[in-house]
C-alpha cells in the first residue's frame, strides 16, 4: 500500500469514525440495534449537498444534515417506543422510507458537488493548505465528536442514557421516562451518522442515494474491531476504541483490496462480504474460545 493510499484509508477511518461513534451509542450504550443508519448516512449527505448547492455555508449545511439525522432517529425511536414496534424492524422501516425521501430531497438519485464550496474549501481560509488539510479537518471533527460523546455520557442525562441501555426497570423506578431517553439517544446517534454522511459527500464531491448500503455492518465491524484491540472497560475507553476501530477497519479493508493471488483480486464490491465475514469472525471468536478452553 502506498503512502498516499494509507493516508486515504486513515482519512476514511476518521470520516466514518463519526458514524461509528453514533453506532457505538445505539448498539453498545443503548442496546438498541439501529439499522436506520443505512438511511441516515445518505440523508445527511443529501441534505448537506442540496444545502450547499443552494448556497448555504458549509457549516450550516452540516448543521442541517445533523438535524435531519436527529429527526430520522426520532422517527425510529417513536415507532419503537410509542407504537411498540420491535427496534430492529422499526429501524428497517425508517431506513427504507429514507431511500424514497433521500431521492425526493436530491430530486434524483445523486447530487454533484463539483464547483461548490465545501468544508474542504473552508480550510485554506483558515490557513491550512496542501494534502494534509483533509485528514486534519476530519481528524479534528472526529476527535471533537468523540470528546463530545465522552462528555455527554458523563453528564446526568448521559448517565440516564447508560442506565436505560443497562436496566430499563431500574431507571424507570428512578423517575426517568425511558421513551424520552431512547428518542434522545437514537436521535443523537443518527445526527452523528448524518454528519459523517455529509462529510463523506463533501469529501468525494457527490451525494448518492446508495452510499449508505452496508453502513451498519461497517459501523459494527469498527466497534467490534476497536473493542477487540483496545478493550471495553468504561465509556471513555469505549468511545476512543470505537474511533480507533474505525481507522483500523478502513486500513484493513484497503489492505485486503490490495491483495492479489495470481489472476484473483478483490474488487470494491467484495467489501460487504469481507466485512460480514469479519464481523461474524469477531462475534464468534469469544464463543469458540470459551468452548475450546473448557476441560
Amino acid at each position: 500500500m502506498s503512502w498516499y493510499a494509507a493516508i486515504g484509508a486513515v482519512e476514511q477511518g476518521l470520516l466514518y469514525g463519526i458514524m461509528v461513534i453514533g453506532v457505538y451509542l445505539t448498539f453498545r450504550v443503548l442496546d438498541f440495534p439501529d439499522l436506520t443508519v443505512d438511511g441516515s448516512l445518505p440523508l445527511g449527505a443529501a441534505v448537506s449537498a442540496v444545502a450547499l448547492t443552494h448556497g448555504f455555508h458549509p457549516l450550516a449545511a452540516l448543521g442541517l444534515a445533523m438535524s435531519a439525522g436527529f429527526l430520522a432517529g426520532m422517527v425510529t425511536a417513536l415507532l419503537n417506543t410509542k407504537l411498540q414496534i420491535l427496534h430492529l424492524l422499526a429501524s428497517i422501516l425508517t431506513m427504507i422510507a429514507l431511500y424514497s425521501i433521500n431521492i425526493r430531497i436530491m430530486d434524483g438519485p445523486n447530487v454533484s458537488l463539483l464547483g461548490v464550496s465545501t468544508m474542504l474549501d473552508v480550510m485554506p481560509d483558515l490557513g491550512v493548505t496542501g494534502y494534509w488539510s483533509a485528514p486534519l479537518l476530519f481528524g479534528l471533527l472526529a476527535i471533537s465528536v468523540t470528546v463530545f460523546m465522552i462528555w455527554f455520557l458523563h453528564t446526568e442525562l448521559g448517565l440516564a442514557v447508560l442506565a436505560t441501555g443497562d436496566n430499563a426497570r431500574m431507571i424507570t423506578a428512578q423517575g426517568v421516562n425511558t421513551h424520552h431517553i431512547i428518542m434522545l439517544g437514537v436521535g443523537l446517534s443518527n445526527a452523528m451518522v448524518a454528519l459523517s454522511g455529509a462529510l463523506v459527500a463533501q469529501n468525494q464531491g457527490a451525494a448518492d442515494v446508495n452510499m449508505g448500503v452496508g453502513t451498519i455492518i461497517a459501523g459494527l465491524a469498527s466497534v467490534i474491531v476497536g473493542e477487540t484491540l483496545f478493550g471495553r472497560g468504561g465509556i471513555t475507553r469505549g468511545c476512543i476504541a470505537a474511533l480507533l476501530g474505525s481507522i483500523v477497519y478502513r486500513v484493513a479493508i484497503a489492505l485486503a483490496l490490495g491483495i492479489k493471488w495470481g489472476a484473483f483480486a478483490f474488487t470494491p464490491s467484495d467489501l460487504n462480504l469481507i466485512t460480514a465475514l469479519l464481523v461474524v469472525g469477531a462475534l464468534v471468536t469469544p464463543i469458540l474460545k470459551k468452548k475450546w478452553t473448557r476441560p
Binding site: E156, L157, L159, A163, D166, N167, T172, Q174, V176
Partner: protein, 264 residues
C-alpha cells in the same frame, strides 16, 4: 398519606386467561406506618405494590400519595415519591455502572436531569456516609462496578439508593426472598434500621409470617385479591404465627395442607 380506594386490577382482561388479581381494595396508610403484607401465591400482594408504583394501570379505583391523586400518572412520574426495592437483586441497580454512578442516578430521582456532571464531587461525601450505614465497606469502593458485587451487596445498595432522597413511601417487594438466609436476615435488619432512622412510610411484602410479625406496626393479609386481615398496634404485637395460620385457613376454607409447608 397513602390512600388506595376501590382498586381493582385485571390481567389479560377480556381474554380466556382473564384474572382478577385485586378486587375493590381499600387501604389507607398514615405517615410513618410500616405495613407488612402477607398472603399466599396469587393473593395480589405484588400486584398491590406494583399498582401503587404505577407498573399496571388500575382498571378501577383511585390512588393518592401524599394528597396527590396519582391514578393516571405513569410509573416514572410516581417514582418521584416512591422508593422501591425489588425481589430480584439485579433489578435495582445497573451492573455496568459504578456504585457512585448508580447512587448519582437515584440521587436525582424525580428531578430533571441536565448536562452537569453526573457524579458530583460534593456528593461523594454524602454517598460514603450513606454506605457506611451498611457496614459492608462499600464506601471505599465508590468506583467499583456494581456487576462485581454479590446479590446481597447489590440489594443493600438498592436499599440505600431507594432512600437517598427520602421517599413518601418505600415499597419492598419480597426484597429478601432471593437471598441466602444469612444475607436475607442482614438485609431485613438493615431495612428495619433505615426505616426507623428515616421514619419512612413503608409497605413490605413477605412470604414469611414470622418476619411479618417481627417488623412493622401493622399487618395486612391478602387473599384472592382482597384484604382479609388488617391489624395494627397492640393487637399486632400480640399476634402469633398460629393466629395468622388460623385466619388464613378460615379464609381459605379447605385444602390447606400444601400451603402449610409454604407459609411456615
Amino acid at each position: 398519606m397513602i390512600r388506595i380506594e376501590g382498586y381493582t386490577q385485571y390481567f389479560h382482561r377480556g381474554g380466556v386467561n382473564e384474572i382478577r388479581a385485586l378486587e375493590q381494595v381499600d387501604l389507607h396508610l398514615a405517615k410513618g406506618d410500616f405495613v407488612t403484607l402477607i398472603g399466599s401465591n396469587g393473593a395480589g400482594k405484588s400486584t398491590l405494590l406494583n399498582g401503587l408504583a404505577g407498573v399496571h394501570r388500575a382498571d378501577e379505583g383511585q390512588m393518592w400519595i401524599g394528597g396527590r391523586n396519582v391514578t393516571d400518572w405513569p410509573e416514572h412520574r410516581r417514582a418521584a415519591y416512591i422508593g422501591r426495592v425489588f425481589q430480584d437483586p439485579l433489578v435495582g441497580t445497573c451492573a455496568s455502572l459504578s456504585i457512585e454512578q448508580n447512587m448519582a442516578l437515584s440521587f436525582k430521582r424525580g428531578q430533571g436531569r441536565g448536562l452537569s456532571l453526573g457524579v458530583k464531587q460534593q456528593d461523594r461525601g454524602f454517598f460514603r456516609e450513606q454506605l457506611q450505614i451498611l457496614g459492608l465497606g462499600l464506601e471505599d469502593r465508590l468506583k467499583a462496578s456494581v456487576g462485581l458485587l454479590s446479590g446481597g451487596q447489590r440489594q443493600a445498595l438498592t436499599m440505600v439508593m431507594a432512600t437517598l432522597i427520602e421517599p413518601e413511601v418505600l415499597l419492598l417487594d419480597e426484597h429478601t426472598a432471593a437471598l441466602d438466609p444469612k444475607t436475607a436476615r442482614q438485609i431485613l435488619e438493615l431495612t428495619g434500621q433505615i426505616v426507623a432512622i428515616k421514619q419512612l412510610t413503608t409497605m413490605m411484602v413477605t412470604h414469611n409470617m414470622a418476619q411479618a410479625l417481627a417488623y412493622g406496626n401493622r399487618l395486612v393479609m391478602l387473599h384472592q385479591g382482597g384484604i382479609i386481615l388488617d391489624v395494627s398496634g397492640e393487637e399486632k404485637k400480640n399476634l402469633t404465627v398460629e393466629d395468622l395460620l388460623a385466619q388464613f385457613y378460615t379464609a381459605q376454607g379447605e385444602a390447606f395442607a400444601s400451603d402449610r409447608a409454604l407459609l411456615c
